[in-house]
């Protein structure tokens, strides 16, 4: 059952990821990206990362995508204002991305198989209690630095958004 769910979510994520790129209207791209994020959140739940799945939906599908949609509507972008690239440039882009995919898959195939994972006590690893312990014991300094990063980003966004800085 979970295997079929995995394949369904993977198919959905890849299909909607491709539609994000191929769709001409930027608003449709945002909506397809939301579907991709929900598929990835489904993968997180399958992988026993329940807290990350919730955070992913709140942060990405909730906050970041609303920001994108807001900016697209603020700038009034639609199909007519979409800039066009030449066919040769698109062809080159597809070739280079395809070559990157082939190289990465080739590198993956020639590596040695991973050893069998240690299957002890991995069921509740993604719960808030467990992650909070690791976050606040092992990674306390990066957590505090992240708060400074957020403050800097907030101040920077406000400064950039001001119409004329004196």
């Amino acid at each position: 059952m979970t295997v079929y769910l995995f394949y369904f979510l993977s198919f959905l994520a890849i299909l909607c990821g491709l539609m994000v790129i191929l769709e001409k209207n930027p608003i449709h791209s945002v909506l397809y990206l939301v579907i991709t994020f929900f598929a990835i959140a489904g993968h997180y739940i399958l992988l026993n990362a329940q807290f990350l799945a919730a955070v992913h939906i709140i942060v990405y599908a909730g906050a970041i995508m609303v920001l994108f949609l807001f900016v697209i509507m603020l700038l009034n972008l639609n199909k007519e204002t979409e800039p066009h690239k030449s066919i040769a440039w698109k062809f080159a882009a597809v070739i280079s991305a395809g070559i990157l995919l082939i190289v990465l898959i080739g590198a993956m195939r020639t590596t040695n198989a991973l050893p069998a994972p240690p299957h002890s006590a991995i069921a509740d690893i993604g719960l808030v209690k467990n992650l909070g312990k690791v976050l606040f014991k092992q990674f306390l300094l990066p957590f505090e630095i992240a708060s400074i990063l957020f403050l800097a980003a907030m101040v920077g966004a406000v400064m950039l958004g001001k119409r004329d800085i004196k």
Binding site: G17, I40, L47, A49, I64, A123, F139, A152
Partner: protein
């Protein structure tokens, strides 16, 4: 429900690779700066998925904490990036990245 025991880790690596390459393709393929930002988000999510898969595989919570930090950095990047984008739109009247072919002016 323990999927990592039913599905081989290679499947997750393959899925993340494909999603990452779709993101790379989006950055190269489109000229609209907003779509390029969204493609970068797609790449970050591909890496996040791989981190969670390996974290679940090894039974180590550090990978999921890293995903948390990647989300934090991505959120800050999007906030500043979209503010820069609005500034560019005010000055040039479009979100076409090929307009920005010089750093001066």
């Amino acid at each position: 429900m323990n999927t990592i025991q039913n599905i081989h880790i290679n499947h997750y690596i393959l899925l993340s690779t494909v999603l990452f390459c779709i993101g790379v393709l989006g950055v190269l393929f489109r000229r609209n700066a907003i779509i390029i930002f969204m493609s970068v988000e797609l790449m970050l999510n591909a890496v996040n998925l791989l981190l969670v898969a390996f974290s679940s595989y090894w039974g180590d919570a550090a990978g999921q904490v890293f995903v948390f930090f990647v989300m934090v950095v991505a959120a800050a990047e999007v906030a500043v990036g979209l503010a820069i984008l609005i500034m560019i739109y005010r000055n040039t009247g479009s979100t076409d990245i090929d307009v920005l072919n010089k750093l001066k002016n």
